[in-house]
Symmetry: C2
Subunit: 332 residues, 2 copies
Amino acid sequence: MTTIYDVARQAQVSAATVSRVLNGRATVDPVLVERVQEAVRSLGYRRNAVARNLRRSRTMLWGLIISDIGNPFFTALARGVEDVAQAEGYSVALCNSDENPAKESQYIGVVLDEQMAGVIISPSGRGRDVRLLIEANTPVVAIDRELRAATVDSVLVDNEHGAELATSHLIESGYRRIACITGPKQLSTATQRLRGYKRALAAAGLPMDESLVRYSDYREAGAFEAMESLLDSETARPDAVFAANNLTTVGAMDCLVSRGVKVPVEVGFVGFDDIPWAHLVRPSLTTVAQPTYELGQTAARLLVERIKEPSRPPARVVLRTVLHERDSSRRP
Amino acid sequence: MTTIYDVARQAQVSAATVSRVLNGRATVDPVLVERVQEAVRSLGYRRNAVARNLRRSRTMLWGLIISDIGNPFFTALARGVEDVAQAEGYSVALCNSDENPAKESQYIGVVLDEQMAGVIISPSGRGRDVRLLIEANTPVVAIDRELRAATVDSVLVDNEHGAELATSHLIESGYRRIACITGPKQLSTATQRLRGYKRALAAAGLPMDESLVRYSDYREAGAFEAMESLLDSETARPDAVFAANNLTTVGAMDCLVSRGVKVPVEVGFVGFDDIPWAHLVRPSLTTVAQPTYELGQTAARLLVERIKEPSRPPARVVLRTVLHERDSSRRP
DNA sequence: TTGAAAGCGCTAACAA
DNA sequence: TTGTTAGCGCTTTCAA
């Protein structure tokens, strides 16, 4: 391996000078700069970032801990994070916690051990291990989900408002017995979206029937079962469904299709969060779209700021959602 | 920051002993082991991986350079890589090259600078920069796409056979003027899938009409245009389409739908690589499915082996594809 | 403007 | 079995 000393010898300067040139310090004689650059080229030298990081006690690596890499919501978000990171000179280590608090803890450990410059996390549980990060002064940004265990920079969407929008839209379309399949109780998005749903019902003067609510797991199989149990319920079945995330939409729609239930004639449907290629699905899906890419971008920008200025007060950014009306909610 | 010396002082042993305990060396008195562990707990000590990596001149980080994080094919693959990596104690830095050779080069630079333990790459161009990795003795595994510039471990699918399967299936279904929308010429998958398509035509004694072939960019917008140009062609238009990747399928189907072309009645359709929720799309899509997760797993396992045994001869693993017959290719 | 020298936190060779 | 010591490759005082 070629080191900075090899370059120094070749250029007939000291290692300190090579370091200065490499880091673009202005205080070096142009003649020496040229000599150093020539030596770097001829030796094919690359600086060892590990040694550099140790010496400077900081790295240019971020951790991005997401809860499901199979969910296009998170990959769109990751793209937003990555683009900003790259522009700022950071690299991103993507960690998939799989909604598993144990895996999440493990990754938090890696972030700590590797002295990463910061973390963007979509907490899958109560997020108690996030405290370790904060104690270690690692900059943290929460994304998509609220972090109860600590106050940190957060980027969220207006879940309650979006859910209310979706539900009101179903009501305006003429549906009356509207079911809600939401996510796990410990996730802020699940409870907020449920609240928005309830608020829309209340605003329209419709009764709140708890038997129309299901807490699922934000995954396809769970949503499929939840939909089945709604269709099979003793009391009259729902005439519409509000699904609280994209995979819930897929699972529930799958169930409806396989049962031969006609959407939107027999059952109306609105989902929270778009799915890719929603336009190819029949019937096309009415959804509340989230600005996924912007979510990632914003989180990344907050992290950049936080790293620069660790003591600034935590920011809380809430982005808007938009209702996309398509066929699944058009009552004939 | 608490260091190994703080622990040593607290446990009244030397730093070397702490290091031995931390690394599970057997040669330490159980009494001291207990004292060290107690000190670690009480101080909340975590070892600094940067210092460790420098000293050992190796890291536990892999680079995974993929060409489109927005493509579910690559995220499924990433998941396979990540699961194996985690089990083996490695972390994965996900790098999205966006089919952009310049970005790819930049990431290869990061891999080199950070002294990563290895790389799994789906090369987006000619992959000439991969040579830098090889010169630096960084273990490399090529995935999905062949690497012409060097001989390395590779994990591929039987593109030619899969494409032949898809095309033959269309022929058997009664279609005769079958078009092919493939990818960029410099990608091995694009040329191999085109070759399989041609072989199927030849095997069936059908003429090879070059005006039915389009080289697109493996993206939706490009595929949409390619499909348009096929529909608008002077000579008789195709009665079926073979789309060479998943986003090509989406773009081409989108075009057909928006033009009001009836699938599979007027035009039959088969795509290479599944898309998620293909079952919700109408008509449901016939596809040649790739074992995406296994692709990632296999690449990761090869990387583990390569790291252990750098001089073993490069392996080349080819995984099978499977035809999923659905509605888009059923001629009434 | 340049160089000498110290040291980031850890592991491993060597000595005891 | 344990401790002493050197050094991984770099940046950054400090002195010249």
